[in-house]
């Protein structure tokens, strides 16, 4: 016993090194879902505060671009206003009894929240976006994030009182269900870590025959993203003779370099939808 204690004392540095290494490897090997158990709420709060201070500086210099974006978005929304559309002129056509409007009651499925981006990386292999909106302001885990121009950004993975973390599409574990706008054939959007502009669309059946320039949108299979949102456009098709599936490079619709605001989408029926999903977590 005395010898063991002596041995440990002699090699105290080595043992403390070993313990620290094991500690960090354990932290590393657990996936992002147990993130908060190691970091706890405080670290998110600290990094969120510092990020916010920093972004208040960078935000000032991009005010002009942000303004233009918001103005463009306002125009797009204004064009969708109901008052822009008029009904059929029923006086000219006799006997038109078909109602243009669906009279069935509608229930709201998706609800949108705006949030300011205070931290954003795109240079690493696992990129996250920090936003200044948390559980106090209605953010929940697994909510989807989309950019002001309507293309998808990521999924909320971590929430505390005033800040939340979004797993960006530029993350090696990110996976979102997507389909072609043209023929609705679905696959999944991932990222290979190479270029922040290019995403990878996997598991597309070889019968799809996609062309360069095809639009990729979110599929209705996703439980967190609304369907028909812009993902990107196909830039090249990778032929793999050994596989039954195609892999495609997709130019991302989102510009991850200058995100200022994102919208968070809450699916109010997500729980119900997930209950009947056979394969759990099709999209993370």
């Amino acid at each position: 016993m005395k010898n063991i204690i002596g041995f440990i004392r002699q090699n105290f540095t080595f043992f403390s090194f070993l313990i620290l290494q094991i500690l960090s490897l354990v932290m590393l090997s657990s996936n992002s879902k147990t993130h908060e158990t190691f970091f706890g709420g405080w670290s998110n709060q600290v990094s969120g505060n510092i990020n916010q201070y920093y972004s208040s500086w960078t935000y000032f210099f991009s005010l002009k671009a942000t303004n233009e974006k918001l103005a463009a978005e306002n125009v797009a929304l204004r064009n969708q206003l109901a008052q822009n559309f008029v009904g059929f002129d029923t006086t000219k056509k006799l006997g038109t009894l078909i109602l243009r409007k669906d009279s069935l009651e509608k229930i709201r499925k998706f609800y949108y929240y705006p949030a300011k981006v205070v931290g954003n990386t795109f240079t690493l292999q696992k990129n996250y976006i920090v936003i200044e909106r948390g559980s106090k302001q209605g953010i929940k885990k697994d909510m989807a994030a989309i950019s002001p121009d309507g293309s998808i950004v990521g999924v909320v993975v971590e929430v505390n009182e005033n800040y939340s973390t979004i797993m960006s599409l530029l993350h090696r574990n990110s996976k979102v269900s997507a389909m072609f706008k043209r023929d609705k054939i679905a696959g999944s959007i991932e990222w290979d870590g190479a270029d922040p502009n290019i995403l990878v669309l996997k598991n597309i059946s070889k019968s799809a025959a996609p062309k360069v320039g095809d639009t990729v949108i979110t599929s209705p299979y996703s439980s967190n993203f609304p369907a028909q949102l812009m993902v990107g456009r196909v830039t090249s098709v990778i032929q793999d003779p050994s596989s039954n599936f195609l892999t495609l490079n997709v130019k991302a619709g989102t510009n991850f370099f200058n995100l200022e605001y994102v919208y968070l989408v809450e699916n109010r029926r997500m729980e119900d939808q997930n209950k009947v999903n056979i394969k759990e977590a099709v999209n993370e």
Binding site: S24, F38, S47, R172
Partner: protein, 173 residues
């Protein structure tokens, strides 16, 4: 300036430079990630004990991990770096020189050749271990070799440009 004060300031400064500037640089290629934050560990005074460089490395790496949201990745690499630092210093310097607390590794105190070897070997160790840990999670062998090689080159370029700009010889006197 007091040693402790100076190193505390460096701790914060190098973290900020890495988070606010280098992590925001648009990537040129997948293999190139500019890393310079670990220069803090290279610049610790000669006499810093092995256990404290190991601990400091761990804490320093973990602080960066909080911002990059990779728990343990940089902490492991910096811990290893802090642990191996005294071995390389002992190889390069005489016994009494490597125990002097008032001085720190620099071109002025060590000379060009030894300092270059010191910086290169520790940078290489850091990147080798860091990218190895990344490789275990995703990627392939080509990614591993390419990233270690190119990231080390970029880091060394950054380190030596910092050495030339800062000119710590003048600060010493």
């Amino acid at each position: 300036m007091n040693n402790l004060l100076k190193n505390t300031a460096r701790f914060v400064l190098f973290l900020l430079v890495q988070i606010v500037i280098l992590n925001e640089v648009p990537p040129i290629h997948q293999f190139i990630t500019p890393y310079i934050y670990f220069l803090f560990l290279l610049w610790l005074p000669f006499g810093t004990s092995r256990i404290s460089t190991t601990l400091l490395g761990f804490i320093f790496g973990y602080s960066l991990d909080i911002f990059t949201k990779t728990p343990g990745l940089h902490a492991a690499a910096c811990g290893l770096m802090g642990y191996l630092r005294p071995i390389i210093l002992n190889l390069l310097l005489s016994q009494e020189a490597s125990e002097e607390v008032s001085k720190e590794p620099s071109i002025a105190t060590m000379g060009w050749g030894p300092y270059a070897f010191y910086a290169f070997s520790l940078t290489f160790i850091h990147h080798f271990y860091l990218v190895l840990l990344e490789w275990l999670q995703f990627g392939n062998f080509g990614y591993f070799i390419g990233k270690v090689f190119f990231t080390s080159i970029i880091s060394l370029l950054l380190i030596f440009s910092v050495e030339l700009i800062m000119n710590r010889r003048k600060l010493k006197r």
